[in-house]
Symmetry: C2
Amino acid sequence: MLVSQLLNPTLREVPAEAEVISHQLMVRAGLIRKSASGFYTYLPLGLRVLRKIETIIREEMDAKGGQEVLMPIMQPAELWKESGRWDVYGAELFRLKDRHNREFCLGPTHEEIITDLVRGEIRSYKQLPMLLYQIQNKYRDERRPRFGLMRGREFIMKDLYSFDRDEAGLHESYQKMYDAYCRIYSRCGLTYRPVEADPGAIGGTGGSHEFMVLADSGENSVVYCSGCDYAANTEKSECRPQIIEDASPEGQRKLVPTPGVKTIEDISKFLAVPKSTLVKSLLYQGNEKTFLVLIRGDRTLNEIKVNNALGGFVSLQLASPESVEKILGCEPGSVGPVGVPDGLMVIADEEVPLMKKVVCGANKADHHYVDVVPSQDFRIDQVLDLRMVEPGEACLRCGAPLKEARGIEVGQVFKLGTKYSKALGANFLDENGVEKSCVMGCYGVGVSRTIAASIEQNHDDFGIIWPMPIAPYQCIIVPASTKDTLVVETAAKLYQELKGLGVEVVLDDRDERAGVKFKDADLVGYPIRVTLGSKTLANGQVELRERKSGETHLVKVEDLTQKVKAIVEKALLY
Amino acid sequence: MLVSQLLNPTLREVPAEAEVISHQLMVRAGLIRKSASGFYTYLPLGLRVLRKIETIIREEMDAKGGQEVLMPIMQPAELWKESGRWDVYGAELFRLKDRHNREFCLGPTHEEIITDLVRGEIRSYKQLPMLLYQIQNKYRDERRPRFGLMRGREFIMKDLYSFDRDEAGLHESYQKMYDAYCRIYSRCGLTYRPVEADPGAIGGTGGSHEFMVLADSGENSVVYCSGCDYAANTEKSECRPQIIEDASPEGQRKLVPTPGVKTIEDISKFLAVPKSTLVKSLLYQGNEKTFLVLIRGDRTLNEIKVNNALGGFVSLQLASPESVEKILGCEPGSVGPVGVPDGLMVIADEEVPLMKKVVCGANKADHHYVDVVPSQDFRIDQVLDLRMVEPGEACLRCGAPLKEARGIEVGQVFKLGTKYSKALGANFLDENGVEKSCVMGCYGVGVSRTIAASIEQNHDDFGIIWPMPIAPYQCIIVPASTKDTLVVETAAKLYQELKGLGVEVVLDDRDERAGVKFKDADLVGYPIRVTLGSKTLANGQVELRERKSGETHLVKVEDLTQKVKAIVEKALLY
């Protein structure tokens, strides 16, 4: 492809609305353009990257026995009512009506559609396992679409659904997909980590893993073990309760005045005690119930654990100051567990009952209790793991210290079980003629998101650094002069030869200064740049530069194409 | 692929809801399944056909310099308001609102989005021509979705938009696309005809062609010349007025009683005059105006011509009996042109003023006028070509007789001109620094529709007959016995060898009777069937059968793979 004929509008300025680097670079490098908030057009180079990732995914899905189908984007409300999700799926679901006033939604996921399909076609255990997938647009009406392809409202996903006879079958399908996902991200040239994850709104109780592309800018925190292969989303990571060797209480609990002191930080300073001897008390509400949640003062509460522990309340939130006042007669900063009403359920993190004496709120403005003994001075109804793990803690599996990293979620696999097959009646007859529900799994890759994540992970001050397997083109030829006939003709010749060798190459034939071409080549991020200058070419040499290392070599003209081909082939090996 | 592992649920029964053969066969052959009225899931074999057509289209678009992009499906209402189409596009447009109550639609076409994109990126004539295309879902809320993929509500199209400096450039781009479309349908192995067409709702005044896949079941009528290459949608085809050598009037016009006689047929019989001496008079209304339309009694009125002649009224329709009564004081069957009110515009087909004496309605129940002289006895305000052409008429270009055929529209190309570029301000600076509007064309292929059309054209009583280039697989191997080890092993061996040669092959390894396998193979329509029977194989032979011709040959086992490969390669030549 000739750059002069390519719709690749590069920009020097950072677009005002682009907050993250991948969004900035995708716009600046001319890969995408916004059409409306959360909706983008892929320009030719952006689309090429997308297609390459899709191809890798397709190959890996097929290799595991996946069969590709294509389901409708518009889904009838009836199916969502059958699964029970129509009413619980919130404002993120785009809903619309047809001319006959029938309700539809734009699919954020396709469990209902695929289960409806399969229930019509599956009769016997002999037809299982069945792995069906598609690559297609998905929709999510984000409250605040941003970060370009990272959080759009229309985005592209691969979603595969597995149907098995039993849990053992599901486990096998799950493992196949886990392995396929590892291959996909490796083949894309990305540094990633599969981590244990929370199943979230998709549901299912059998377990879930997220695939994280590691990048300092990642919005997710992950912990991984320095000793074994344990890794988890920090939100999901289980904790081992730590015992603090604190002193025994010096007698009865005492109410002490703490004028104007409210935060854990302030109380710790005011009373000159470590934060690990304080108990944080938080009043939560969800599904019309109220709970008092207790956690050690130096820990961070993990709301997802609270939510799951309480049965997955969609609407879990901190009680309003008005509610706190009504229930406990104080403001939120003074809440404590001592003497709370009998009807109020108290749940505590595992570490709380292990504390010998604690400081806590007294449900009275400007006062705290000290020398409080958990379980003796206050009631605990339920003890659970409710906190965030912290780097340096011991791995639950091997005891080695955990480390932390930032990641961008680009894929997730779920063991669904029979949630959807039971709701929609996707059954089969087993060997004994007994009717059973299919055991399902679902497996998603954020295809468009993977583009953004790969840029977050691979860029520098000058632009994108594409991993070879997903680069829009593998090589760019830059004639540094447009007047020197030898330069122009040799560039055209090398361009044709590389194309003949199957290398994906563009020729920057624009009538621009060499500096402009270099800037664009770095911005777009072609892995290999071949530069033809008048002086070096007079000596029979051209310059070969790899974007990633920045290394530059002078190469004999006659050796160039084979060298380029060798670099490309090596980089595509997996 | 092994048939036992393929999701290819075939049906013996014709699905009740499927009215046309392509819909019946696509469901029966396990290519698609309905998810809701007008919404379908493509099963693996259906998707393979779709992808093959897409690949052919992509190659031909790229060969003409088209650049592939991918635009959003959800489009903001603002752009449609800018182009003026938001308010005129009727109930077929799916509209929805996001959580912030902003209006969107699901794109039935992408003129607004692409023009918005281009206006942001095009500055100079040097960037033109630019040809941008995508292959993507489109949406149309059909009042009555039916015929499977022929008239769905979610369907797949390729749409290319051309941007040129001037009309000459547009003509060149248009010709490129016209040629590419011819190649696409030829490469798909279809019998088709490009015909002159009406631009319809897409608009533009520069001309349009439709590409029709010829099939007796086609919903469109096309005429083509037996002498030259003229062809047109019958609705669009221009007519040459025919002069009838009728007698001169025998005096003044006379009012004659015609009790109970209303239709042209009846009057012709009652008065014993040929229908070609009658004038049909029809009262039309559109955009709050009323017109009396006159046409010779033996002709069919072409409403599209009436509509276009009057400036393209979206709502053109026959006046209601109440309106006729109010305006002319009679019922619709008695309407005639003599003595109509001064304010009522009278438009006549070109043939009417050429008639010497005519019979027509008298605006009085149970009476007609005879010996009426056009233009003398009644007023004609405008003379236009308003009728349907008829087979056998002389071609306007060469005079040879026209013939008629039935076709299914699978593509259309339009010269849009500056309709959208002016509305949205997609301008460029020409060589002299003068700002001009881009001159646009748009070019659509109904990708999913092409599948249906190809089946309408290519099938028999037993199932689909795929043209080789778009067959889901090229060859099926059917071991007639599942017990004969030689048969089973040879089948597996041939399967592997054919795969190795690059032939797309499936092996029907199911534990089914041979008859069932043959029926399925015919139904699905694999172009080549290789059958291994115990007796013939004992003689070192297998049976090679071509689906299209039904011809069967016995072939030596060792020659089989090369023979199959040769048949495939020959059929893919273009």
